[in-house]
Amino acid sequence: MNTYELVIIGGGPAGLSAAKVAAEAGLHSLVIERDYKIGGQLVKQTHMFFGSEKQYAKTRGIDIASILIDDVKRHPDKIEVMTGTTVVGLYPDHVITLLQGEEYKKIKAEAIIIATGASEKFLAFENNDLPGIYGAGAVQTLMNVHGVLPGHDVVMVGSGNIGLIVSYQLMQAGVNVKMVLEAADTIGGYKVHASKLKRLGVDIRTRMSVKKAIGTTELNQIEIAWLDDSWQFIDGTEQRVDVDALCISVGLSPLSSLAAMIGCEMKFVPLLGGNVPIIDEYHETTVKNVFVAGDVCGVEEASSAIVEGYYAGLMVAKRLGHEHPDFAARKADYETQLDNLRSGPFGEKTRLGLLELRGERHV
């Protein structure tokens, strides 16, 4: 069985950034990615990022992906990348089982960084399994990575940043976005994204959601309705809308099942997106030498995932006896960057969620 110093599960922004800093500190790592390419969800994000220059603000997500991939390629002697490989088992003795095509393999690691990201949440309504109903991020992949359109007439459910951004990108690709539905009183995402849509004439309707999908083997129509103060549909307000695609953008859940599998103590923190591993200030879980970075320990933006990746890479390297030459300065810098990214009103969820995770806030 091959033994690695560090195995990083997930080749997205957090995993790639962790590998980079670990390599700079002199550590060898293996990055495992289940998709056939690395870069995570950045590879489909054509919009420019916010934040500061250190997290590549004003750069398109697709270009940030290239930067992070190039960073990893600069350390061919230190970083090995395995794509098309799914981690199917993670055990307390640090044995990792992999599925590669039809072959199972076993490897071992001295330390592990779980950087598996998050998956899109689903929404319960009648016929929600009809083909033509997609996660908004999935549609973004289909059109921005593969250049294929999901349909002609689309309705978006959810007005968080993903819902707003993907709606705009659908319009850029020539798709008619009929409306964006938001169950809450107000639009969830940044005003700048919502304003772009409104300028294009897209109808953003608050206090409305999808009640059922209509179609035999594929989606043809949806029924939408108003919601009352307790988020229940108001009878008699139903309207039918002809659509051939419906995008669901109602948040993300951390993909934290591997952390639970290896025995990390978990906590359900809705503000962080769901079930997350309990971590200390160094991003280490309750299982020694198992660290986490990115959305798996709380859903945020890719900018935060990048910095958390750097941070976890720095900490793991130190643990395994490869203290980075700039350890103290880097540590302070990454901590400041994370504080800054979480400072505004949109960072409140993460700030409160992290307090709750640490047991410093009770709900």
Binding site: P131, Y134, G137, A138, G147, V148, L149, Q172
Partner: protein, 104 residues
């Protein structure tokens, strides 16, 4: 349906990849996954639920939800959203949990 013009992205449509879908000869292009090639052909029903036989399409595009599982070259439960299309692939709609393929 492929994007013809885009303000930011370019999609070269040059290298054609031939495969079969439920016995019919069809084609995609280099860079496609199986699911994206089928979507371009207007095929959105990729699998069926096991008990009620309800039609399923792809949902997550990250290999997580199992809604796009198909039989590819005799192997069931292939996550077509993260599997690159290859020349000569034999792709079939899946209607059950998947059976071990013949040579195993």
């Amino acid at each position: 349906m492929r994007i013809q013009q885009h303000p930011i992205l370019q999609f070269p449509h040059d290298q054609v990849i031939h495969f079969t879908f439920d016995g019919k000869p069809v084609a995609g292009i280099a860079g496609d996954t199986i699911a994206s090639a089928l979507h371009n052909l207007g095929v959105r029903v990729l699998s069926h639920s096991v008990e009620k036989g309800r039609a399923r399409g792809f949902y997550c595009a990250i290999g997580n939800c199992a809604s796009c599982n198909m039989i590819v070259d005799g192997v069931p439960n292939v996550r077509t959203c993260i599997t690159p299309l290859k020349e000569g692939m034999v792709v079939k709609t899946q209607r059950n949990k998947g059976v071990l393929h013949e040579h195993l």
